[in-house]
């Protein structure tokens, strides 16, 4: 058999904010899948670890013209310019890396020594620091999944696009002598759980994947494109104020005209 190399992929997401109801299922699906720890008081949101977090946006108008939009925020898996994601470039321990095979920004907790440069560098607040050792009440450690190692105190963690699901799917495909994954074989936990069907996940550069087409929707935008982080999460919204909330606009600037590096 001739040696075939895996084709380069850029896994990414399109989140339809017109469909998102802010129900929080993606957040908990992520926590349950990835052994995310919890503490007695989770109301300090700077310290509450939520790989996927839902932000509430409002249009700033007064009653009764206020509008609300929910925005789920996983890690953006920025590609930056040629794989130079903001967090990857600053990590002194190579604990986080841009994987050119999948386009996923990895995080290896055992390599991380907790300098938190990456947290400072991430413009999306997608990274969280373990200020304490994780503690599961007696018996509840039975609910932990062996696919994702629980993290220890002093390291940074973040969304991995459920990379273990990719590995499992790839192993299965390899055992069937396939080199390519089918679209539905690898889906993240949040995508699977979303009752609103707001999240679409797939390979952004594969013409056969749904995300390839949806990301070209005229409603699409990405967060802080001006920073040239080149994120792999696209959002859709039919409301202009929501699209404008995705970046820092000058009042006279037209929505969606930011030139970003592709």
């Amino acid at each position: 058999m001739t040696q075939e190399y895996r084709k380069e992929k850029k896994y990414g997401m399109v989140i339809d904010l017109d469909r998102c109801t802010g129900c929080g299922a993606c957040m908990v699906a992520c926590m349950a899948e990835n052994n995310v720890p919890f503490r007695d008081n989770e109301t300090d949101k700077l310290k509450s670890i939520t790989w996927m977090r839902i932000y509430q946006l409002t249009n700033g108008k007064s009653y009764p013209n206020e509008e609300i939009c929910y925005l789920p925020r996983p890690c953006m898996h920025c590609e930056g310019h040629n794989g130079h994601s903001p967090c990857v470039t600053v990590c002194p321990a190579v604990a986080t890396d841009y994987d050119r095979e999948t386009g996923i920004v990895s995080q290896i907790p055992t390599r991380c020594f907790g300098c938190r440069y990456c947290m400072a560098a991430c413009p999306y607040h997608a990274r969280y620091f373990n200020w304490w050792d994780p503690v599961w009440p007696e018996g509840m450690e039975k609910s932990l999944s062996p696919n994702v190692s629980p993290r220890m105190r002093g390291v940074v963690e973040k969304c991995s696009f459920c990379f273990h699901r990719y590995q499992l799917a790839y192993e299965k495909a390899a055992s069937e002598d396939r080199r390519e994954l089918r679209e539905n074989e690898y889906q993240t936990s949040c995508t699977q759980a979303c009752p609103a069907g707001a999240i679409t996940f797939g390979d952004l550069i594969n013409k056969n994947h749904a995300v390839y087409k949806i990301k070209k929707d005229p409603r699409a935008f990405r967060l802080l494109e001006r920073l040239k982080t080149n994120p792999k999460i696209y959002y859709l919204s039919s409301r202009e104020w929501v699209r404008r909330a995705g970046d820092n606009y000058h009042p006279e600037e037209e929505t969606g005209k930011i030139k970003s590096h592709q």
Partner: protein, 715 residues
Amino acid sequence: MKIDRRCFLSLGIGAAAGTALSPLPWKLMDDASIWTQNWPWTPVPPDGEISYTDSTCTLCSGGCGITVRKIDDRVVKIEGRENHPVNNGGICVLGLSGTQLLYGPTRVKSPMKKINGTFQKITWNQALSEITEKLLTLRAEGRSHTVAAIAGSSRGTVSALLQRFLTAYGSPNFYCQSSIEDSFSLSHIQPQNNKTIPGFDLENADYVLSFGTGIIDGWGSPVRMIQASNAWKTKNLKLIQVEPRLSDTAARSDEWLPSKPGTEAILALGIAHVILQESLYDQAAIDYHSEGFVTWRTAVLGHYHPDKVAEITGIDAKTIFTVGREFGQAEKPVAICGRGKGNTPVSVAEMSAIHALNVLVGNVNKKGGVFTLPEPNYISWPEISFDTKAETSLQTKQIAEGGLLHRLPSAINEAEDSVTLLFVADANPCYTLTDTKEVIRAFKKIPFKVSFSSYMDETAKLSDLILPNHSYLERYEDVPVTSGLRNPVIGLTKPIVNPLFQTKHTGDVIISIARAMKGSIESSFPWKNYYQCLKNGLGQHWNPLLNNGVVEITYIPEFEEIPRFAFQIPNDKPQVLLEGNENKMDLTLIPSDSMRLSSGYIGAPPFMMKTIPDTILKDNNTLVQIHPKTAEKLELKQGCYAILKTPRDEKKVKIHLSQGIGEDIISFPRGLGHTAYDSYLAGKGINFNELIGPVEDPFSGLDVAWGIRASLIKA
């Protein structure tokens, strides 16, 4: 060599610089961090074989299908079941957190008896013989009727077994929480004494007029509703939300009508006025489905002109005209009600005013409309046998008049020894019933309370005996779901794991107690165990249920069987008035529901608590939402403390300013303020139910309080 000062300093600086430049401190720091990170208290989850099993979620009345992922015999993840008629793969925050309930610290691990105020472990034999003895003594003393039971639902075999036991034993005191379905049933002329339940074919509707219904905030079967609301997005259905607060549903609607709280019924009558005046109604359908139309029409045309309605509701007449016309002209318009999650009933007058819109446009019992369905009585068991003792004591009056649960606490508080023994199954009345203080006072007056709860909830904590049920992932049980589905569905829970603790199926416990009672009670329970009772009771449904995990009950009623809607002549005030003195308390307190907070009998597990925004709960404080102008008037600021006073109680809250609520209204999150469960939930925030009390609908007696008068004073 003489060591002078200069030499000493240069040596010191040299040593410091040398050490700093050498890799030693960095290496040591690195090693130390790696070493501490590998301390053994970070668990390493053991690997094993992955398997998936289908079951049904019981954590709310939604009845979603779930697929449980196991590693060997450990449950590690709960996911939505694909192609399930209720949720088709979707799942909610509570369903996802189910593993934390199974393995959490709140589980009651064995039968417990309260001795001198603390719980002590006892064996099942001790527990069962104690309860049997008590029951036999009470019966011998002729006080069978003082035994009462509260169940979470009136449906399902476990609830039915408990009711059956009480009936055979000779007590008429079986209670369940009333719901919005009761209001719907009462607005119809009842056929053959069966309840009427609504079925909503919302997926196929093309215009939805919602009167405060939290369509995506947890009403009906929550996941199904979120899916339906997205089906509407793709086909441009128009959703109009009438609600005083910008809820998530209102935020998502095409038009939000911020009506004054409690005026929904009047707005509905104003809209009906437009439909009647412009002859947009379907006379044939009205004749077919209802009674009393002509007099009702005269009353509505006479008293509910949009100009007048506008004054009361705060929605301008032009909008009422537009909505009335759009509703009348739409092909499949649906009007729905039930505030927030719809767990509390509305007045029959309000239900009638709103459902009248569906009847007017003829969108009843057809595609895209509202269906009047019979209660799915799918359990067939042999008749109960009675002895004379049971027959006589069954004649006694129910302690709470009309069998209404909200009347039970005051009935107990007023009369001595009215209840001597209480069973509580799948319910947490000491948290979910309003005027909680009174409920707890009544509860404490009952000499012997028995809880079947799997978790140490408020009610279990106050009980004298806990007979813990298996968790829903450890047992067989039928899960009947109506919750506004087009057709009722019966799901089945299956034992995914062997029982972790010394628990016993509540069904088995009831059967064994009944059998120990001997005589006619024993013969009313002719089953070996619960499994046999379930299998026999479900008859033809059993095999498909066991194989597929779910059965849909499709039933097309004959004309004579269709319950007919009774138009209610609206009286002067179709509004339910608020408790409290308007002059002393000039604000209106209303609850707010959210998908991220569980307000039912199951408390929010730790994962769910993580999703709650800090605009609802900060540290242990509940935040209430008020409009900035209200705050200005009361000299309150964002984040400051205030004392919230209602006729029932007063509490310290934090203020959150919001443009999503009208002036003089306070919105309060429901589902916080637990005193039991674990440290992740207990002591967080305030229970809304403590601040409000029952207000009865004069027509039905149902508790229809939707808010209460309140005041806010800077603390």
